[in-house]
């Protein structure tokens, strides 16, 4: 989580330029996109995992995290996959799925630290009225960083 926190504030560049840090996040997936316009939430989580020496999914798809590691509860730092059909084909997600690190689950919101949230790495409060939880995941014991 600390690795992700240190990235807070990284944002997309306006116009034709692309933030090289976001391209670096993309490099941690097989897609290796070269623009910061392609949804990068999963790339960000993969990059954080890579820094923590934990094998990620290598996929730019948020849903790839559904079968990664093991199921867990709503604890801080859990990789959280949520879905909102209305958000499909948007700047955030092409599929409607989104992934980030859980800060907190409240009665009304999933508070996630993630990439590509309002075009930057930040904490966003996703309302439960529009976003459905698909899973909380945690690295398997054998994969946890030492």
């Amino acid at each position: 989580m600390r690795i992700a926190i240190r990235e807070k504030g990284q944002e997309e560049f306006k116009g034709k330029n692309h933030n090289p840090v976001i391209i670096k996040y993309h490099a941690s997936t097989s897609l290796k996109a070269k623009t910061d316009e392609i949804p990068w939430c999963s790339s960000f989580v993969n990059w954080v995992m890579q820094q923590a020496k934990i094998q990620g999914t290598n996929s730019a798809a948020a849903a790839s995290w559904l079968n990664w590691g093991e199921q867990t509860t709503a604890k801080a730092g859990a990789i959280t996959i949520i879905r909102n059909g209305a958000a499909a084909n948007s700047s955030l997600t092409s599929s409607g799925n989104h992934v980030g690190f859980l800060v907190k689950e409240t009665a009304t919101h999933y508070e996630l630290l993630g990439g590509n949230q309002s075009n930057m790495v930040r904490v966003t409060l996703f309302p439960k009225s529009s976003w459905t939880l698909r899973g909380y995941r945690w690295p398997k014991k054998s994969e946890e960083a030492v």
């Binding site: 926190i5 997600t93 309002s118 930040r122």
Partner: protein, 141 residues
């Protein structure tokens, strides 16, 4: 052109480009000082003068239609923007606060990621026609 003259011209160009860069940075700081003071005092008249209309307000993703805010709608939207919950980082921890508190506590403008645009959490400022303006914002609910 002799070497002396070339050297002098080179240094003049270097100094003036440095001065221009400094002027731009300084002008955002003075803009921010004025904007921040107005935001703290809820001085909407001054805030409106520092804003480009229509103000573009975006959601967390671009499937949320951009809201184009007119001057007569500004006060209501600006208050919503200020009430937004924000998690700044303090000592490597996320600490829940509001956009209003961030504005109150940010006396010095942070370093810009590029020299055409500043973003302070959910507020975006752009350098347009020789002056800084509040041009768009993110409202996540």
């Amino acid at each position: 052109m002799n070497i002396f003259l070339r050297t002098v011209l080179f240094f003049i160009a270097l100094i003036s480009s440095g001065c221009m860069a400094n002027t731009k940075d300084t002008s955002f700081q003075s803009f921010w000082t004025e904007f921040r003071a107005a935001a703290i005092k809820n001085d909407y008249a001054t805030l409106e003068k520092l804003t480009k209309f229509p103000l573009e307000v975006r959601g967390v993703h671009d499937s949320v239609p951009i809201e184009y805010v007119r001057k007569d709608e500004f006060k209501e939207i600006f208050n919503k923007l200020m009430e937004q919950k924000i998690y700044p980082v303090q000592d490597e921890e996320l600490v829940l606060t509001s956009m209003k508190t961030i504005v109150n506590n940010t006396e010095l403008a942070p370093d810009a990621k590029n020299d055409e645009e500043y973003r302070i959490e959910q507020l975006v400022f752009e350098y347009i026609d020789g002056r800084w303006l509040f041009t768009n914002a993110y409202l996540e609910e």
